[in-house]
């Protein structure tokens, strides 16, 4: 009786360690093959899933519901034509983190739809990434065919220099 629990023997620690490792390995193995198991997903993958592309019709619904439209193109292009009510955040400026960009729209209780000049302009995706880097955790929408698609579908377009901005 006196011999039992004087100090923790090394063999006990080793056995405990082996059991823990075995449990960890078994856990990984089960999750790998179980239909409702957990699987490792890379962070970039997880982020990418939060950026969703929208068709023009879907974007129109969001527009009517009060979503914030963000124009990722340059200022001159924005002044020429834009989705009514859109905000201009040039993607290059945002990506380079230049001062003078008003990001307060991120705090608004509204969904954000980013667009540029079409499916392959890249500015919208770049701006989406920049917004993501500022810690925006909700879903970001990208207008699939950009402003040309919007215009071609017959939705209204705002033109000319806006007084306020």
């Amino acid at each position: 009786m006196a011999t039992s629990t004087k100090r923790v023997p090394r063999r006990l620690v080793r056995d405990m360690f082996v059991i823990l490792v075995a449990a960890g390995a078994a856990g990984i193995a089960v999750n790998l093959f179980h239909p409702r198991g957990y699987v490792p997903v890379s962070r970039t993958d997880l982020e990418a899933r939060k950026t969703v592309s929208l068709s023009v019709a879907e974007a129109r619904i969001k527009h009517d519901a009060g979503a914030v439209f963000v124009d990722a193109r340059e200022k001159a292009e924005f002044e020429q034509a834009r989705v009514p009510g859109a905000i201009n955040v040039p993607a290059l400026d945002a990506a380079a983190n230049r001062p003078g960009i008003d990001f307060s729209f991120l705090g608004r209780p509204a969904e954000i739809v980013v667009y540029c000049d079409g499916p392959s302009c890249g500015a919208a995706a770049m701006l989406a990434e920049a917004i993501r880097k500022r810690g925006y955790g909700r879903i970001l929408y990208i207008l699939e065919n950009g402003l040309p698609g919007w215009e071609a579908a017959g939705h209204p377009v705002e033109r000319g220099v806006r007084d306020g901005k």
């Binding site: 056995d15 856990g27 957990y38």
Partner: protein, 177 residues
């Protein structure tokens, strides 16, 4: 110490390892193995249980949910067949302590929800045990039982014991032949 009372003898014998110790070891082992196996059949649902306690950060919940069920199963099987009993009992003690802490924090917060201790609903049995002081007490009893199993020097009807017997028998043979 020559005239020990009967109760004292019984306690000493249990601490050393008698049939009662075996009963506790096998019962606890079976319980751990059973709940571990059931939880293992649905990792995601056990993840929800872990998340419900609201203690681990969301990033760690999947790891805990993947790790605890196989640990319970392995510990249960080791206790059941009786090998590496002390190591298994030590880890079971840690596990029970963690459970008690998880329960206590939520009882302290004044919350009450299905504890998910024995997820037998996965087997189609309705059993909803609510988090509460009674569960903490029950886990403390389990803790004491695991402490007894950890403390015991001899485990009858165990693989450990059997191996030791075989070893001792062979020792004799090599000595006298």
């Amino acid at each position: 110490m020559g005239n020990e009372s009967g109760i004292r003898k019984a306690i000493n014998s249990t601490l050393y390892g008698n049939r009662f110790t075996v009963l506790i070891r096998v019962a606890l082992g079976a319980m751990l193995a059973f709940t571990g196996a059931v939880k293992l059949t649905d990792p995601a649902s056990f993840g929800l249980v872990v998340a419900r306690y609201g203690i681990l950060p969301a990033e760690l919940v999947p790891y805990a949910a993947s790790f605890i069920p196989p640990l319970e199963l392995i510990l249960g099987l080791l206790l059941l067949i009786g090998i590496r009993v002390r190591a298994a009992a030590a880890l079971a003690l840690l596990l029970m302590t963690a459970f008690i802490v998880f329960l206590s924090v939520n009882v302290f917060r004044g919350r009450s929800f299905d504890c998910g201790c024995f997820p037998v609903h996965l087997l189609g049995i309705g059993l909803a045990e609510k988090v509460g002081p009674w569960l903490i007490l029950r886990n403390c009893v389990f803790l004491a039982c695991f402490a007894l199993v950890y403390r015991a020097d001899r485990h009858l009807f165990s693989l450990e014991n059997f191996i030791e017997k075989v070893r001792l028998n062979n020792l004799e043979k090599t000595k006298y032949e």
